[in-house]
Each structure stands twice: as C-alpha cells, then as structure tokens.
C-alpha cells in the first residue's frame, strides 16, 4: 500500500479557498460564502439561537456540509487540520447572531479550544454578549473514562450537531440548546480504525508511519496513532471489538436504544462499510441493544484515509425526535419524520 501524496489540486496552498468556492457554488441553494465563512443561504428567523463552529479543513463534509436548515448557521473553516484563528471565530459568532444568543461549539482539540477561548475574550471585549461555548468530546481511545473531559472530539459529534441544529431551528433558548448539546454529548461514544495513513496535501508529509499498513484502532481524526491489530484481521472481528469497547465504556444495558453511526473516514468502499455495519449491528443485537437509527456514510473524513469510525448515541424520546427533525445541508439531509 502506498500513501497518495498528490491530490487533484492546483497549488495545494490554495486548496481550502478553492474548495470553498467550488462547494458553495455547487450548493448555492443551501449555503453561501461570506468572508471565508460558510453561512446559510436563508438565515434563521430573528431571535433564534445561532449555532456556529470552527474547525480545520480536510474533514469534509464536516463541517461545511453541515450548514443549513436544521443544522449550523455558520461554519468557519480553518487551514487543513488546523482550527481557524480567533479573528475568524469572532467573525463567525457575529455572523451567527440573530439576536437570540450564539452557541459556539468546539470539538475538543488543543488548537480548537485555545482559539475559541481567545475568540470568546475578543467577542466579550467587543461587547458581544450571550455567547455560550461548549466543548465536545466522544472518542473513547483518547483518554480513560475517569478523565472524560480530556477526550477529543470524534465522529460521534454527528449526533450532537444533528440534535442541537434541530432544537435551535425550533427557536429554543440558548440555555435549552446548550442543555441538549451536553445531553447528547454525554450519551455519545466513538472509536475509529484505519489501515495506512494519508499525506498532508500542503507539506506532502505522511501522518505517522507510511510503511505501517496494519489495522489500527483508536486513531484520531488527524491520523494520531492508535493500537495496532496486525494486518490479517477480519472485518467482523474489528466491528465486534469496537462495539464491545463502545458499549462497555457507555455502560449500555440490554434494552437500550441507540443511534449507530458508521463514518467513512475517507476512501472505504460501500462494500467494506456494509460488511462492517453488518458486524456491528450483529454485535449490538447479541447484547440486546436496539439500533433505533443508523447513518452510514462520509461525515468527518481525514482526506482519503482508509479508515472509519463507529459511534453510538443512547437515545431517548427527546433525542430521537430531534434526530428525526428535518435538516438540509450540502453534506447531510434528513428528509423529515420517520
């Protein structure tokens, strides 16, 4: 296996800007570009809570594809794998402000948190009030359960974004939106796996060891190292192992209802995803856990990484209703009620 060090790009240093132009033009019914930010083509009504997130690029459709009705109001894309700076985040807060307060969501990574905290101070200095920041984490490989707030953000945040987007669209208060964010976060766990790695498009540097083609479980979304399983491992074995770790970490009892996400980390085939999903579903059923909703596809990618993540979110009727609420972004659509 070799790492693809060249992508179909022009000057790689221009890739993020050119991607945004192309993506916004292709989805002009849903989003538009405004000062380097992705914003909704049709803004929310006045008085509603605005939801904004900044993140590194290279994870598409996260988060540019998650701006739209029932989802985010504003996304501030940063350079590849790097959070945007505080100035960009303050611009995002301002753009998301519809007079009902702004929820700044942060996927827990050192740079994202630092820049968000700098931005909150800057927004405060500028007299922007009613901004609440919530830090989100779900990746069980990144820290033990006893240090859950040290965990990093992973693919499971899919559920958090979906649910907060839905409740903000309804016109809920800032406090209620933040409550849902924390509730969904605390019920969500994710774990990832990959074989091989990808190269950074600008520097051409492979992330990690390009010659190691064994399967690793517990990688981060920037290719951070995980635990090696070896090369000769069957999909069912990986699915079973990952679901077992997720269920045990979440202390899910038999009878629990979950949302199950299988995130394509980049270049997996539908064949592989379907086989992996089948194994995960069988393992959950063996444990008496009911899969209430499923989503399989690219949500948060790492360029063309040959990897994936499973995430589970323990549902109740409130979260299920929010999950089912209609949403329309360039990279994610929920047509309506089940």
């Amino acid at each position: 296996m070799s790492v693809r060090t060249r992508l179909f790009l022009n000057n790689p240093a221009d890739a993020v800007g050119e991607m945004l132009e192309g993506y916004a033009a292709a989805h002009s019914d849903v989003i538009k570009l405004s000062d380097g930010m992705v914003v909704r083509a049709t803004p929310k009504p006045e008085g509603h809570v605005g939801v904004v997130i900044g993140n590194g690029s290279g994870h598409e459709p996260a988060m540019i594809g998650w701006v739209g009705e029932g989802l985010f109001d504003v996304n501030v894309p940063g350079p590849i794998f790097s959070s945007p700076g505080p100035g960009g985040i303050v611009d995002g807060i301002r753009a998301a402000d519809r007079g009902g307060g702004v929820l700044l969501l942060v996927s827990s990574h050192a740079g994202d948190i630092m820049n968000a905290e700098l931005a909150i101070d800057e927004a405060d200095d500028e007299g922007i009030e009613d901004v609440e920041m919530v830090i989100l984490y779900d990746d069980i490989a990144s820290a033990p359960k006893e240090q859950i707030t040290e965990r990093r953000g992973g693919a499971g945040l899919f559920f958090v974004w979906k649910m907060v987007g839905a409740i903000a669209e309804r016109g809920a208060s800032l406090a209620d939106c933040a409550r849902i964010v924390r509730k969904a976060r605390d019920r969500t766990r994710s774990l990832s796996a990959a074989m091989g790695t990808v190269a950074h498009p600008v520097s051409g540097q492979p992330l990690g060891d390009p010659d190691d083609t064994s399967v690793a479980v517990g990688l981060g979304v920037h290719g951070e190292a995980g635990t090696r399983l070896g090369e000769d491992v069957e999909a069912d074995h990986i699915s079973e192992l990952m679901i077992r770790r997720l269920v045990e970490d979440a202390d899910l009892p038999a009878g629990a209802r979950v949302g199950l996400l299988l995130n394509n980390g980049g270049s997996l085939t539908i064949m592989e995803l379907s086989v992996l999903y089948r194994g995960a579903r069988a393992e959950l059923e063996r444990r008496g856990i009911k899969v209430a909703r499923s989503w399989v596809g690219p949500y948060a990618t790492t360029l063309d990484m040959a990897g994936f993540a499973f995430a589970i979110c323990q549902m109740d009727s409130e979260l299920l209703a929010l999950y089912d609420a209609p949403a329309r972004g360039a990279g994610f659509v929920m047509p309506g009620a089940h």
Partner: protein, 212 residues
C-alpha cells in the same frame, strides 16, 4: 535600542530562518502531529512581513502586534494561537514602552509572552512543547538583561538556551496537545514547536549582531 526598523528586521530574519528549515520542521511534526508545522510557521511569518511592509514606518509595538495577528489569522490551530500570543504579548509590552524600546522592555515582553503561552496552552515545562525552549530562553534573557547586557548579548544567550531546551525535548514524552496521542512515536524526536522557538531566537541573535 529597539526601533521599528530593527523590529521589522527581526521578524524578517525569523521568516528567512524558519522558511529555510520548514521541511525539517514539518518532518518533526509528522512524527506525532499532522506534518504541517514548518509550512504553517513559514506562512505566518511571510504574512506578517507582507503586512509590516504594507504599513508606513511602523513602531516596534506595531511590528510585533501585526506579527501576532498574522499568526492568528494565517495559521490558526494550536501553534497559531500560541506563537501569535507570544508575539502579541511582546507587542503589547512595547506599546507601553518608549520608542525606541530598551533591551529590558523587550525582555519584559518576552516574559509576558511566555506567561501567556503557558496560560493559553495550559502547559508547564517538561511536557514536550515550545515552552521547553521558551522558558530557558526567557530565563537566560532575564539574567543577561539583569547584568546590563546589550540586546545582542541578551538574544545570543536566549538563542543558546532555546537551542539547548529544544534538544532536551528529544527524550521527553509529550503531555500536551495532539502529540500526546502519539507519545511512543514521539520519544526520540525533537518537538517541532520548541525547534521553531530556537530558530527564531537564533535568527534574532544573528540579525542584531550583524547590525553591530
């Protein structure tokens, strides 16, 4: 004394030095990070110089604050936030000083920068970060300044201490930021942020020395 022109030349010297070493920095970053540190630092310093050249006769404070903002705007991420805050803190201190500033003003700015980096990054020395080069550099600068040394001598002492500090990160296990998830791979390899700090101080020491 530190006037606007010397400040500009300090940033430009840092830009040249970091650009010359950007591949090496990115390789160090790829060990436990995402392999773009060198590119990012070079981009930020180039952006800073463009903005500085576009302004008319900037003060030392303006040069350093502009550099800080360029890191925040052009790079983002943890490194952009931390290096940006370091330069910004120096600029903030120089803004409260006379123009031209004294070597002691510069050292006070560097001390404030270190404090700010440690607060924002929530890092202490020994966690395999830029702080492991910055702390000894600032300590050495403070000592030299206390002995009444010239800016050239102060920056020379800081550069030597920063390089020793950067090299000392090789054997450390990362305990902060993204690299902590790749702790094993990282041992035996220098921290890229600490290496950048050493490069910047070395470039500064040379730039001041060459002006006599």
């Amino acid at each position: 004394m530190l006037d606007g022109d010397l400040s500009r030349r300090l940033v430009d010297a840092a830009r040249r030095r970091v650009s010359d070493h950007q591949d090496e920095l990115s390789r160090l970053d790829a060990v436990a990070g995402d392999g773009d540190h060198g590119v990012n630092m070079a981009t930020a310093l180039s952006e800073a110089m463009e903005r500085i050249e576009a302004s008319d006769d900037p003060t030392p404070a303006e040069v350093f604050r502009t550099t800080g903002r360029a890191f925040h705007d052009a790079v983002g991420g943890a490194a952009g936030a931390l290096f940006g805050s370091f330069f910004g803190a120096i600029g903030g201190q120089l803004n409260r000083s006379d123009n031209p500033a004294t070597p002691a003003d510069m050292v006070t700015g560097m001390e404030k920068g270190l404090t700010r980096v440690m607060r924002i990054g929530k890092v202490e020395p020994g966690q395999k970060t830029m702080v492991d080069a910055l702390t000894p550099a600032v300590d050495a600068a403070r000592t030299a300044s206390g002995e009444g040394a010239s800016l050239a001598r102060i920056l020379d002492a800081a550069a030597r201490a920063a390089r020793r500090g950067a090299l000392s990160t090789t054997s450390l296990e990362p305990r902060a930021g993204r690299a902590r998830y790749a702790a094993e791979q990282s041992i035996g390899s220098e921290d890229p942020g600490a290496c950048t700090v050493a490069l910047i101080f070395e470039a500064w020491a040379e730039a001041v020395e060459s002006q006599g």
